[in-house]
Symmetry: C2
Subunit: 218 residues, 2 copies
């Protein structure tokens, strides 16, 4: 159980704060906007209105005692940098800040942020890559040409056994391995080659991207 | 090669537009803000200033001929909905829109968007889940308690064979399966139980989250 401060309760910060609280951590959520603070009441340990660029405010809130701080201020680059510097100066061991662009992110790294994130950019890249692969629900890259995909079983395979569909057998020979099958809420690890695929099944496939894309193209 | 229109060139939309163009598609990027349009010149097929809530503007740009439209307008919920309705009415086969919250997203689905995305919320959840698992580089959820993790080999296992570390053997018995090992640029699918783990190795592990977290905790 950790003590986390989240500064900035826009769409990104408010979701981080809520999720961390649900995961069992102590979360103090800070924003200068009263309405946004009100929306967090009961969804975090402590929601407080304040200007985080004001060191006195941060000290009064005991922020220097926290394990982790997340600076989720978005559009105001100056505030994002100032708050990150203040938190660093106050000795918080681990600071994650969000950046709008590479120059902003570079600056945050130089002032000592432990981790810089680019939420909209990262989601933009993911969306673009997944756009023309509608069966591919999610992709995790291992190398630029090898990864793991969560795939909705294409119509052409429904009713077939995994082996029939060419999806069974040792991955290391085919360069492609079905590691799990999800049907409703049930998950089977290393499913049998004779498992029949049904409409709605989700497959988790590991392998070379070009081989995986053969599965998902009609 | 597809024809894609991206409306809204904030951090999310501009990244989608650029990435799709780099992937070889034809991209028309539209925004009402001249400066944002200028920044896209040369990075997409065609960048144009315009108010996308104006049907005449969209028709003039030939938007009705496109395969896919992405509505990446952020804060202006009304504009996001209006533009999505216009594009739907004009017959674009596949429309992806971004939403600020569930009510906004629900509305977009009801008016016929094929896919609704919540970029900041999704990244907020990912960040919160990854925050106290620094060895876990990325996680893909299959169910709320079962997933795939890309893990940096923890120090306690370096020098050990996979079997020695308790990481070999049939996943379906242990509820945990190492599906790939990445060393430098080399990837091995279904690595041997006697493979010795080295500093810097990356493991791809599938299984129950609580078992996977046992690996990554010291
Ligand atoms: N000095 C400050 N002190 C406290 N909160 C601040 C400060 N400056 C900005 N904020 C808050 O940060 C939050 C997020 O910033 P903003 O809404 O500008 O970015 P955004 O990129 O639109 O956010 P998101 O994409 O997460 O919705 C806002 O709720 C804002 O009130
Ligand atoms: N009617 C419209 N026609 C064209 N562009 C529009 C219209 N309304 C808004 N936009 C553009 O949409 C873009 C994204 O919207 P906005 O900046 O409000 O959202 P944001 O959530 O901060 O974006 P991001 O998080 O992607 O940076 C802006 O560049 C804005 O000019």
């Amino acid at each position: 159980k950790k003590q986390v401060t989240v500064v900035g309760l826009g769409r990104f910060g408010s979701r981080i704060a809520r999720t961390l609280y649900q995961l069992g951590h102590d979360v103090m959520a800070i924003d200068q906007d009263e309405a946004r603070v009100q929306q967090m009441m009961g969804e975090v340990t402590y929601a407080v209105r304040g200007d985080a660029t004001n060191e006195a405010v941060l000290r009064e809130l005991g922020v220097h005692n926290f394990d982790v701080a997340i600076v989720a201020i978005g559009t105001n680059v100056q505030a994002s940098i100032m708050v990150s510097v203040l938190l660093k100066t106050m000795g918080i061991p681990y600071i994650v800040s969000r950046a709008n662009n590479e120059l902003h992110g570079n600056t945050l790294e130089r002032i000592g942020c432990n981790k810089v994130v680019y939420p909209e950019m990262e989601m933009g890249v993911r969306l673009a890559h997944g756009l023309f692969n509608p069966n591919v629900q999610e992709h995790m890259e291992i190398t630029p040409s090898f990864g793991i995909s969560r795939i909705a079983v294409p119509d052409k395979y429904t009713g077939m056994a995994l082996a029939e569909a060419g999806l069974a057998g040792k991955g290391d020979r085919n360069g492609l391995l079905v590691v799990a099958l999800k049907r409703g809420d049930e998950v089977t690890l290393s499913p049998d080659p004779d498992e029949k695929l049904l409409v709605g099944d989700i497959l988790v496939v590991v392998g070379w991207d070009n081989l995986v894309s053969k599965i998902t193209t009609t």
